[in-house]
C-alpha cells in the first residue's frame, strides 16, 4: 500500500530536506584519461572514429591529438565493481535518501532518463572529478511500474584546473515494487530483458494454425468440399468457394525451392546470418521457414529437409527445417 494522509505528509517533509543538497562525496577519477580505457570503450560501443583511437588520424583531425569520446564523460569517475558490491559510504546522502524510500516500501528503483552536456573534449592526461546535487524530488506519481517518486540529480564534472568540462542530469524512479513483482524484479536487474522474435498478428483466419504449432503440429488447411490444400490459410476456397474447411498435418518432409541468407539489417531476437527458405512440402503446398544447424554455404536449392516444431525464443514455437538425414 502506498502512503496516504498524514503519514505521507510526514514522509514528504522528510524528503524535502534532501532537495538542493550536495550528496556529500566527491567522485574522482582513479586514472587519468587514457588510451587503454578509450580503446576498450570504443570497441564495446563499436565506435571506429580515428580521433579516439588512432594517434596518426587524430593528429590530422580538428583536435590535433587523441581525444576521449564525449559520451565517456561519466566513465572516468565511476567506482568500478565496488560500486555494486562494496559497502555504502556513510557520507553518501543519495544512498541515505534511497534507504529512506526503501524503509517506506518504495524498494523498486529504475533509471528513467539522463542528459549530458559536454563543454570540451577530454584529452589524454586530464583528471576528472565530479560532485552531485539532488536537484528535485517529484510529488507522488502513479507510473506503469507502480506508485513512486522521481529523484533528479545533477552532476558537475571538472578537470584538474577546477574548470567545468560537462554536466549530467540523472533521473530515477523509486517505486513500490510490491504490486507488480515481475516488473520490479526486471527493473532491479542489471540484465536487460532478452529480445524476442517478432510475434505473428493473430486474427480469425490464422489463429487456429498458430494454436496447432503450440501443440507441435504443422497444419495445412483443407477445403471440406473439394479437398484442395491451401497455405497460407484463407477463409474461402479459391477453387470452389466453399467456406467449410478442416486441416491435415504435414509430415514436415520437403525440398528447398529457394532460400536466402539474411545478413543485414540485424534485428534483435534473431541470430545472423539467418537462413530462410521457401520449402516445397511433400503434401504439395509450400511453407516459408528457417533452415537451422547448417552453414549458409551448404544450403542448396533442391536439398531435402525435414521440419520440426521448436521453441525459437523464450515463448514462441515455430516450424524450422534441418537437412534431412
Amino acid at each position: 500500500m502506498s502512503l496516504s494522509g498524514k503519514e505521507r505528509e510526514e514522509f514528504e517533509k522528510q524528503l524535502e530536506a534532501y532537495v538542493g543538497i550536495d550528496i556529500g562525496i566527491e567522485d574522482a577519477s582513479r586514472d587519468a584519461v587514457n588510451q587503454a580505457m578509450i580503446r576498450q570503450w570504443c570497441e564495446a560501443m563499436g565506435d571506429a572514429c580515428g580521433a579516439y583511437t588512432a594517434p596518426e588520424a587524430a593528429a590530422k583531425s580538428v583536435h590535433g591529438e587523441v581525444v576521449a569520446p564525449p559520451a565517456m564523460l561519466q566513465a572516468w569517475i565511476l567506482g568500478g565493481v565496488a560500486m555494486a558490491t562494496g559497502e555504502d559510504d556513510p557520507r553518501d546522502k543519495q544512498r541515505e535518501l534511497h534507504r529512506l524510500f526503501d524503509a517506506r516500501g518504495y524498494t523498486g528503483v529504475v533509471a528513467t532518463n539522463t542528459e549530458q552536456e559536454y563543454l570540451r573534449y577530454l584529452k589524454l592526461g586530464d583528471r576528472i572529478r565530479a560532485r552531485t546535487q539532488i536537484e528535485s524530488i517529484s510529488e507522488q506519481k502513479a507510473t506503469g511500474l507502480g506508485i513512486g517518486y522521481f529523484i533528479n540529480t545533477r552532476t558537475r564534472f571538472v578537470d584538474q584546473n577546477d574548470k567545468e568540462v560537462g554536466w549530467m542530469t540523472f533521473r530515477v524512479l523509486k517505486f513500490e515494487a510490491g504490486d507488480q513483482p515481475a516488473a520490479a524484479a526486471e527493473s532491479n536487474s542489471a540484465v536487460p530483458a532478452k529480445p524476442q522474435r517478432l510475434r505473428p498478428a493473430l486474427g480469425h483466419d490464422n489463429r487456429w494454425w498458430w494454436d496447432c504449432v503450440e501443440k507441435d503440429e504443422l497444419a495445412i488447411q483443407r477445403c471440406s468440399a473439394c479437398a484442395v490444400l491451401r497455405h497460407p490459410p484463407r477463409p474461402m476456397c479459391g477453387e470452389c468457394q466453399s467456406t467449410e474447411w478442416d486441416y491435415v498435418f504435414s509430415s514436415g518432409e520437403g525440398t528447398i525451392h529457394s532460400y536466402v541468407v539474411i545478413r543485414h539489417p540485424e534485428v534483435p531476437g534473431y541470430t545472423y546470418p539467418l537462413v530462410v527458405a521457401v520449402v516445397d512440402l511433400a503434401e504439395g503446398t509450400r511453407f516459408v521457414g528457417n533452415v537451422v544447424d547448417i552453414e549458409p554455404e551448404e544450403v542448396e536449392i533442391g536439398m531435402a529437409v525435414q521440419a520440426s516444431i521448436e521453441r525459437v525464443d523464450d515463448e514462441m514455437k515455430l516450424p524450422v527445417f534441418r537437412r534431412a538425414s
Binding site: R197, L198, P200, N206, P232, I262, V267, V288, N290
Partner: protein
C-alpha cells in the same frame, strides 16, 4: 468504338525537390515544392489543377497539399496501394480522370523522407491487425521481413534456373551508374562504379550485395497530366501517354508471392506488358529507351523478359556488353535509376521518362520516339509507354 486509353492524356509538367539523405523539412513541404515546380513547368497555375493522385503509402493528404500549394476545388482524387507498384498506377488514375472528363489537370505526386524518416529497408514489424499484417505474420517470426530479403528469395531461384550470376547483376548497376555520373541530381553524380566495387561490397541478403539495392532518399517528385488538346497550348513538348495499365496476378501477395508454381517470373508484369502493347499498338522494337523500376538490380532483368525484349532467362545476355547503355539496344534508367539517382518510389522515373521524350536527359539517346516506364516488382504493378506528340 470501345473506350481506349491510347493518346487520351499527356504529361506536360514535371517537378522535383533536391534528392538528399536528410531534407530537414516535412514530407508536406517536399510534396508542396515538387508539385508547385511541376505546375510551373507545365505553364499552369495552381488554380488550374482539379485532380490529385498519389500512393496509399504517402503521408501527405491531397487536401493538405492542395491547401499548401494554393490548388482550389478538386473534382478527382485517388490513391493506389502496394508501394512502388503504384508508380504508374497513379498515372493510370490521372489518364482515366482526364479521359472521362472527371478532371482537366491532374497532379501525380510522391514525397518521402525515406532516409531521415521511416526507412523501408527496416522492413515490416507491427501495426494494426489488417489483412496485410496477417500476411506479413507468415514471415516476420522467421526474420524474413525486409524488401531485400523478399526480392532475394525470387533472385536466388531465378539465378538457379537461368545461370544468371552476381556479375550479371553488376552489369545493371554499372550501366545505371554510368548514367548517374552525368546527372547532377543523382546521389552518385561523378562517382563511377566498377565490377570490383560491386563484388567487394558487403552482402546484404545473399545473393544481393550492397549496390544491388536501391538507395533510401529524402525527396519529392510530381508531374501534371492534361488532355492532348490542352497540351497543345502549353510551353513544353508533351509526353503523350500511348498506353498505360495496371496488373495484379493470380495468387499474388504483396512482395511474397512464393506459392505460385514458378517464382522466377512476374505474372503481374506480364499482364501489364500485354495491355501496354495492346493499347499502344506498339512492340518492343518500337521502344527507344526505358525507365525500368529498379528497387533491386535483379528485378530489371525480369521486367526485360516480361516486356518481351528477350526470352525468359535470357536477360543476362541482353544486358551484356553495355546493352542498357547509351549505345546499347535499350538505353535504360538514364537518370541512374533508384540504384544511383534517388529512390522516390518510381515517380522520379516518370520525370526521367518525360525528359527522354523532351530530349533533355543528361544521358539522352538520339532516337526518342517511345519510352517505356515501369513500376514496382513483386507487388501489383503498372507501366506506361510515352511517345512524342
Amino acid at each position: 468504338m470501345p473506350a481506349t486509353l491510347k493518346n487520351q492524356a499527356a504529361i506536360v509538367g514535371i517537378g522535383e525537390t533536391e534528392y538528399s539523405k536528410n531534407s530537414g523539412r516535412s514530407e508536406l513541404a517536399l510534396a508542396s515544392e515538387a508539385t508547385a515546380a511541376a505546375i510551373k513547368d507545365a505553364g499552369l497555375s495552381p488554380s488550374d489543377i482539379d485532380g490529385m493522385t498519389t500512393f496509399t503509402l504517402d503521408t501527405t493528404d491531397e487536401i493538405e497539399l492542395a491547401r499548401a500549394v494554393g490548388i482550389g476545388d478538386l473534382t478527382f482524387f485517388s490513391r493506389i496501394p502496394h508501394g512502388g507498384g503504384a508508380a504508374i498506377g497513379v498515372v493510370h488514375q490521372a489518364v482515366m480522370a482526364v479521359a472521362t472528363g472527371s478532371a482537366k489537370a491532374v497532379v501525380v505526386y510522391r514525397a518521402l523522407n525515406g532516409r531521415s524518416g521511416a526507412r523501408y529497408s527496416e522492413g515490416v514489424s507491427g501495426g494494426p491487425t489488417t489483412s496485410d499484417l496477417i500476411h506479413w505474420s507468415w514471415y516476420m517470426p522467421s526474420g524474413l521481413m525486409t524488401p531485400a530479403s523478399w526480392v532475394a528469395m525470387y533472385s536466388m531461384r531465378y539465378m538457379h534456373e537461368t545461370g544468371c550470376t552476381s556479375e550479371d547483376l553488376a552489369e545493371v548497376c554499372i550501366a545505371q551508374r554510368n548514367h548517374a555520373v552525368k546527372n547532377p541530381r543523382a546521389f552518385f553524380y561523378q562517382k563511377p562504379l566498377t565490377l570490383d566495387d560491386h563484388q567487394s561490397a558487403r552482402p546484404i541478403v545473399d545473393p544481393l550485395r550492397l549496390y544491388d539495392c536501391c538507395q533510401e532518399t529524402d525527396g519529392g517528385a510530381a508531374c501534371v497530366i492534361v488532355s492532348p488538346e490542352l497540351a497543345k497550348d502549353l510551353p513544353n513538348p508533351p509526353a503523350l501517354i500511348r498506353g498505360v495499365s495496371q496488373g495484379a496476378g493470380r495468387d499474388q501477395e504483396s512482395m511474397t508471392s512464393f506459392y505460385r508454381p514458378s517464382i522466377s517470373s512476374l505474372p503481374e508484369m506480364d499482364l501489364v506488358a500485354k495491355q501496354c502493347w495492346q493499347i499502344s499498338g506498339l512492340t518492343p522494337d518500337d521502344i527507344d529507351a526505358a525507365v525500368i523500376y529498379d528497387a533491386f538490380s535483379s528485378i530489371v532483368l525480369w521486367q526485360l523478359e516480361s516486356f518481351g525484349f528477350c526470352k525468359h532467362g535470357e536477360a543476362k545476355d541482353f544486358i551484356k556488353d553495355g546493352g542498357l547503355g547509351l549505345g546499347g539496344r535499350l538505353p535504360c534508367n538514364t537518370h541512374g535509376g533508384q540504384l544511383s539517382e534517388a529512390y522516390v518510389h518510381g515517380v522520379n522515373g516518370i520525370n526521367e521518362g518525360v525528359r527522354l521524350i523532351r530530349g533533355t536527359s543528361t544521358s539522352q539517346p538520339a532516337k526518342n520516339d517511345h519510352v517505356l516506364v515501369t513500376a514496382g516488382v513483386g507487388v501489383p504493378t503498372s507501366a506506361m509507354i510515352l511517345g512524342k506528340a
